[in-house]
């Protein structure tokens, strides 16, 4: 094993720390060493950098735009702040302060950029979203020049629901069974299956679409339809669900499994009544997050679903559009209103993903075996029932044996 931390801290670990206790549970001490002068230096550097940059941009580099101003101001700020800190401290502190500034700015830049992507979608799509017909009509009778009060994304919403339902009906049982197989069975095959699944987790989504095109559509002769799209989404989601559930199931304490087996329960009962319920929360998260991925992926449905502008409730016949596909197709339209509809469909898709994510956080996120209050109450009720059942059985047995003698 490679040593990855300074050797002199070995003694601390080996001597005192008990490897079984979670180290994160130790209370954290405040290690802040910043005083008033640090805050003043920070503020001063910021003000100086802004003014200097403003001077430069307005008087000396007239070609610079807002982006240039930000870049100049930021670099000036780094230099000035470094100089100010260096007046009081040594080089180590200077490096520390500059690194701190860099981390904070990385976080701000990334979060602003990512939230901007979301806000931009809703902002550009809001004109379509405020009309109710966007959710209750399809695009069958809507011409390219029709205003936003005509037509909508109903066909895509329904298509998304139908496709994801079919996909979940296939992929949840198969994926969970696969994950249980990885955990309950033994042998070389298990290892092989796990390796293959892990390698497939990052399979480009478009290859899932190509696979269904090659196997189901070209070889088996199915037409491009909602069913084919659902199968493509299945192939894309399967490794994600198996892998995430496998990780969750591995966290189920072995002692629970052994206790169940020791009480004489067969293996299928152990899996069904002990292992799966213990990991329920984590499994829910795994399924919901995979659903969020599956619902938003465009490329597999692009290849397998076909595109149509009207509502289609039959997944076996005719093209079936889903929200990501509609977003994609409309966004390439030259018509302004169609582009707004694309943003509307994208925003609807985003909202759907957010709901799934929120559900995952509400229902999931608990460690294996940790119960919500409601589950705890139902567990207590169940064991009370079991207790009564055993008492009754004993009673009946005693009566029976007294008759026999």
């Amino acid at each position: 094993m490679t040593t990855t931390f300074p050797p002199r801290t070995h003694a601390v670990l080996d001597g005192t720390a008990d490897p079984d206790t979670p180290l994160a549970a130790e209370p954290r001490r405040s290690t802040s060493t910043r005083g008033l002068s640090d805050h003043i230096a920070l503020a001063g550097a910021a003000v100086a950098a802004l003014s200097l940059a403003a001077l430069l941009v307005t008087r000396m580099i007239p070609a610079a735009n807002l982006g240039g101003f930000v870049v100049i101001a930021y670099s000036l700020f780094l230099v000035l702040y470094g100089v100010l800190v260096a007046l009081e401290h040594d080089r180590r502190k200077v490096r520390d302060r500059l690194a701190s500034v860099a981390m904070h700015s990385a976080a701000v830049v990334t979060l602003v950029a990512l939230s901007f992507v979301v806000v931009f979608t809703f902002w550009r799509g809001h004109q379509a979203l405020v009309h109710l017909n966007f959710f209750t009509h399809d695009l069958q009778l809507t011409g390219p020049l029709d205003p936003l009060t005509s037509g909508g994304a109903l066909h895509a919403e329904v298509g998304t629901l139908i496709e994801i339902t079919i996909a979940l009906l296939i992929v949840v049982p198969l994926g969970l069974a696969g994950a249980v197989y990885l955990n309950e069975a033994t042998g070389r095959l298990v290892k092989f299956v796990r390796t293959v699944v892990e390698a497939m987790t990052a399979l480009p989504a478009i290859l899932a679409g190509l696979f269904i095109l090659a196997s189901v559509i070209l070889t088996l002769g199915l037409v491009k339809s909602g069913l084919a799209a659902a199968l493509a989404v299945c192939v894309m989601m399967l490794p994600i669900i198996v892998r995430a559930s496998d990780v969750v199931l591995r966290l189920v304490p072995g002692s629970l499994r052994e206790a169940s087996l020791a009480l004489g329960a067969p293996r299928w009962r152990t899996a069904w009544h002990v292992v799966l319920p213990t990991a329920r929360s984590g499994l829910t998260t795994a399924v919901l997050l995979a659903t969020a991925r599956g619902i938003g992926e465009t490329s597999p449905v692009l290849i397998t679903a076909g595109y149509g502008a009207s509502l289609n409730l039959d997944p076996t016949k005719g093209p079936m559009v889903s929200l990501p596909l509609l977003t994609f197709v409309l966004s390439h339209s030259p018509e302004h209103t169609m582009v707004i509809r694309a943003f509307g469909a994208g925003a609807t898709l985003l909202a759907l993903v957010f709901v799934l994510f929120a559900l995952a956080r509400v229902f999931g996120g608990r460690a294996a075996g940790e119960l919500s209050p409601r589950a705890q109450r139902s567990r207590a009720r169940q064991s009370q029932e079991d207790y009564n059942r055993f008492i009754d059985r004993d009673h009946a047995r005693r009566l029976g044996s007294s008759y026999a003698t």
């Binding site: 399979l203 192939v235 985003l350 993903v353």
Partner: protein, 319 residues
């Protein structure tokens, strides 16, 4: 002892094995199907498939010498932008953020990892593409001496020259993909930074380290596996990203390595672009291209899982 339960257990074991084998079958035959469908085109073109830049399957002149290098270039641009940002955010979340903010930030980043690529594509085409022109012009005119950054026939001082030369380039596609993969990379890195034990952190502080010193000597060494693994994972996603790239790119079919110049291409968007109007032979060629992408991502994934597996076992023995 071998009672009804034994029979039920045998059924259970068999059905589990069936599920496992089904999963294996689906996952394992992807490559096979791509190969069978693509074999016609591969047989026709032979080794020229690897060296031809054009994509004209119907005149039997096609290859991946444009799309594979450009796929890698886009992914490289994406990784260059995404990895420092993701590292910064992950370190911020694990080391600098106030504890109350931390959970919210973790949730936001995980949520962003679930945002569909098509939404990033919309943003890339309608916002980033026109907005990035000044930056691209600045880079190409001032840093044009740097490999890949120059545009040989662009002149920033010529007012008659159209600005679209800076749009829809490899650079733009790379930046959009960078946003797609940053949350994924950040998620993996953050988790591994959290693993750095409190004892070592406080040990470093007790020896007089500044926070940055502590990060360099404790957090980063502990999280190295996660950093490499996260980067590889992001790289894998960047190689396979379809829609975000398709939305912003102007397709080219000759190897165009000036990354700021309009026009780029990649395997996955090529498939999305061409499959609809493709003849049976053209489709076969697209399957062959898909197979090439398949091998490329497999390579990256196996590398990633090898790295992650190695460092994870290392951490267990040390922590």
């Amino acid at each position: 002892m071998r009672s009804a339960a034994g029979g039920a257990d045998r059924v259970f074991g068999l059905s589990l094995r069936g599920a496992g084998l089904t999963v294996l079958l689906i996952m394992g035959t992807i490559g096979l199907f791509l190969f069978f469908q693509g074999s016609q085109a591969l047989g026709e073109s032979g080794w020229k498939f690897l060296t031809t830049q054009a994509w004209e399957p119907d005149s039997h002149n096609f290859g991946i010498a444009t799309v594979i290098p450009l796929t890698i270039l886009i992914a490289a641009v994406a990784v260059i932008f995404a990895v420092p940002l993701a590292t910064g955010v992950a370190l911020y979340i694990s080391e600098y953020a106030p504890r109350r903010l931390r959970r919210a930030l973790v949730n936001i980043i995980d949520l962003m990892a679930a945002v569909p690529g098509v939404v990033y594509g919309l943003w890339g085409f309608y916002f980033l593409n026109p907005t990035i022109i000044p930056l691209a012009r600045f880079l190409s005119s001032h840093l044009g001496w740097f490999p890949l950054l120059g545009i040989h026939d662009a002149n920033a001082n010529d007012p008659l020259q159209t600005e679209t030369i800076y749009e829809s380039s490899t650079f733009v596609a790379g930046v959009v993909v960078a946003l797609v993969i940053t949350p994924t990379i950040c998620s993996v890195m953050r988790e591994s930074f959290f693993q750095a034990p409190v004892g070592e952190r406080e040990g470093a502080y007790a020896l007089g380290a500044t926070r940055w010193g502590m990060i360099c000597n404790v957090v980063l060494p502990f999280g190295r596996g996660g950093m490499i693994g996260g980067t590889m994972l992001g790289l894998g996603r960047a190689l396979g990203e379809t829609i975000a790239v398709y939305s912003v790119m102007t397709p080219v079919f000759h190897l165009q390595t000036e990354i700021l110049r309009s026009g780029t291409n990649a395997v996955a968007p090529l498939i999305a672009l061409k499959f609809e109007a493709a003849s049976p032979f053209g489709l076969s060629a697209l399957f062959a291209a898909g197979l090439a992408l398949f091998f490329l991502t497999l390579l990256v994934n196996f590398g990633a899982s090898a790295v992650i597996a190695r460092t994870r076992s290392g951490q267990l023995s040390e922590a």
